[in-house]
């Protein structure tokens, strides 16, 4: 069972949440300009990573807000929770290293 820390409500049982799948898939700026293959890729193709994975969750039975989670799909360990629109943890780590 997962214990997920909602950025707004704190740590709650997995049953309060729904998983929204792979994170950071940008909606195409101009869908009409896409080929069928590009549209299929956006709509259906997923990384389905075995290991560290970035995904979206929503606190369905709580504040009903969306957020991102970094979770290992083999161990189920959650390594980061970050808000929608924020950069994924590794990108942020790189950025802060650069600053230093």
């Amino acid at each position: 069972m997962l214990l997920i820390s909602c950025p707004w409500c704190g740590a709650r049982d997995e049953t309060e949440f729904s998983c929204g799948g792979e994170a950071h898939i940008a909606r195409p700026a101009d869908p009409n300009a896409l080929s069928d293959a590009e549209w299929a890729d956006y709509l259906f193709m997923r990384k389905n990573t075995r290991g560290p994975y970035l995904e979206r969750w929503v606190h369905t039975a709580g504040c009903r807000r969306w957020f991102n989670v970094a979770r290992d799909t083999v161990t189920n360990e959650i390594t980061a929770v970050y808000k929608m629109g924020a950069k994924p943890p590794r990108a942020r780590a790189k950025a802060s290293r650069r600053k230093r």
Binding site: M45, R46, N48, T49, R50, T73, N76
Partner: protein, 419 residues
């Protein structure tokens, strides 16, 4: 079938005299050769069936099945063994019916008792919408020449006396669909029997051999990298169930598949109380009774991607609560074991069987929660696809391209419960 002991009443008697110490092993355990004509990745039921039919139907025997663990230790050995062919759409009906027919002839074909028990599968309707939808489904299925019928409450009660059919039940039973030719089969026997039959025709079955890379030259596959060295072949088939995306990524192919844990459990053994299979899609429960007397109960998938073959407890709690509403008689029984397997789910709940953008590389996956029933049919069409380098008409609609053309085969409803 050189060197293979034929199993029969006579071989049983002969070996009984020797206290059953003289049985030869059922298949060889060869060292991998450097090259093969065909490599099948994955020693589950589908991979073994592919190898068997390559040898039997197409005369291609220079074949290796590479299995990272032990034979049938994946979903083949973890599933709840329901077989049926009552699918809604024509494409699925044809494929699953082919498979059921192969199952019906399999025991003599491979000289191994697969313990096919056509005890019927019942799908319950708990509300008017369920009943209308199920009636429409039965009609569509019959139009495809597949046996299927609608039962009313009294008929269901007569077949399953322990089912709570009271009108004031939490989940009242308004009716059901029934496929009488459906039922269960012995999962291990199918893996072992197919392995033995494929081996007898010359196929090398290599266990403890994990594929770690897919070798390519230009746009062509040339072999695989494994934990037991490089093995070359001009044709490679990926048949790895829950790990389909992982293997496809090794060849740079993106798939529309998501991997989830799917769980099942057994109770302590009891005397026979149910002689058919009962499924309820609406409350996500299905029940059958094994030959040992255990009640075999299935649940749904975890809602998130995972490669941890355990699954979450809330899924089991939810299915158990619903199960006890349907079968109050089970309330004092103890659960003996729960387990999970990783299933590869497609957006339309139908499999992907066919060619890939890499020449000589083929994929057979995305069977999700319901591929056991398809084991022989899947191997049969995939062997054809690999041997001829083009799909059989039965699996043509199941190509990867359907996600680009939009010709999806939406079987979410037909999958009834989890399969």
């Amino acid at each position: 079938m050189k060197g293979m002991t034929r199993y029969s009443i006579f071989s049983l008697v002969r070996n009984a005299i020797g206290y059953h110490e003289g049985w030869p092993r059922a298949w060889r355990s060869p060292e991998p050769r450097e090259t093969y004509d065909v490599i099948v990745i994955g020693g589950g039921g589908h991979g073994l069936a592919t190898a068997y039919y390559l040898a039997k139907e197409h005369g291609i025997t220079n074949v290796a099945v590479l299995e990272k663990s032990w034979l049938g230790g994946g979903n083949t050995g973890r599933n709840t063994t329901i077989v049926r062919s009552n699918y809604l759409w024509d494409e699925s009906a044809a494929l699953y019916e082919k498979s059921l027919q192969l199952f019906e002839g399999m025991t003599p074909d491979i000289n191994f008792n697969i313990m096919l028990s056509q005890r019927g599968v019942i799908n319950l309707a708990h509300n008017l919408h369920d009943l209308r939808e199920l009636t429409r489904r039965v009609g569509a299925i019959r139009l495809n020449g597949i046996d299927s019928e609608v039962l009313n409450t009294q008929q269901v009660k007569a077949m399953v006396p322990i089912l709570n059919c009271q009108p004031d039940a939490r989940y009242p039973v308004l009716g059901a669909s029934l496929q009488r030719r459906a039922g269960v089969a012995r999962h291990d026997a199918i893996a072992w029997g197919l392995a033995r039959a494929a081996d007898a025709r010359g196929v090398d079955i290599i266990q403890n051999c994990e594929v770690t890379g897919i070798l390519r030259d230009g746009g062509r596959v040339t072999g695989v990298e494994t934990t037991r060295g490089t093995i070359r072949a001009p044709k490679v088939g990926i048949v790895v169930a829950g790990h389909t995306s992982v293997l496809a990524a090794m060849a740079g192919i993106r798939l529309p598949i998501q991997s989830h844990p799917l769980q099942a459990m057994v109770s302590e053994p009891v005397k026979p109380v149910i002689d058919t299979v009962v499924m309820s899609g609406a409350v996500h429960v299905y029940v059958s009774q094994s030959d040992r007397g255990e009640l075999l109960l299935g649940a749904g998938i975890d809602g998130f991607n995972s490669y941890a073959p355990r699954g979450s407890l809330p899924v089991i709690e939810q299915q158990m609560a619903a199960c006890l509403e349907l079968f109050p008689i089970f309330s004092r029984l103890r659960v003996m074991r729960t387990w999970g397997g990783i299933v590869d789910v497609c957006p339309d709940a139908s499999p992907i069987i066919g060619k890939t953008p890499v020449e000589g590389l083929y994929i057979n996956g995305g069977w999700g929660t319901g591929g056991f029933k398809a084991t022989p049919g899947s191997g049969w069409v995939f062997a054809h696809t690999m041997a001829q380098d083009r799909p059989h008409p039965l699996n043509e609609p199941f190509a990867l391209e359907r996600f680009t053309t939009g010709a999806l085969i939406d079987e979410h409803g037909a999958a009834a419960v989890a399969h």
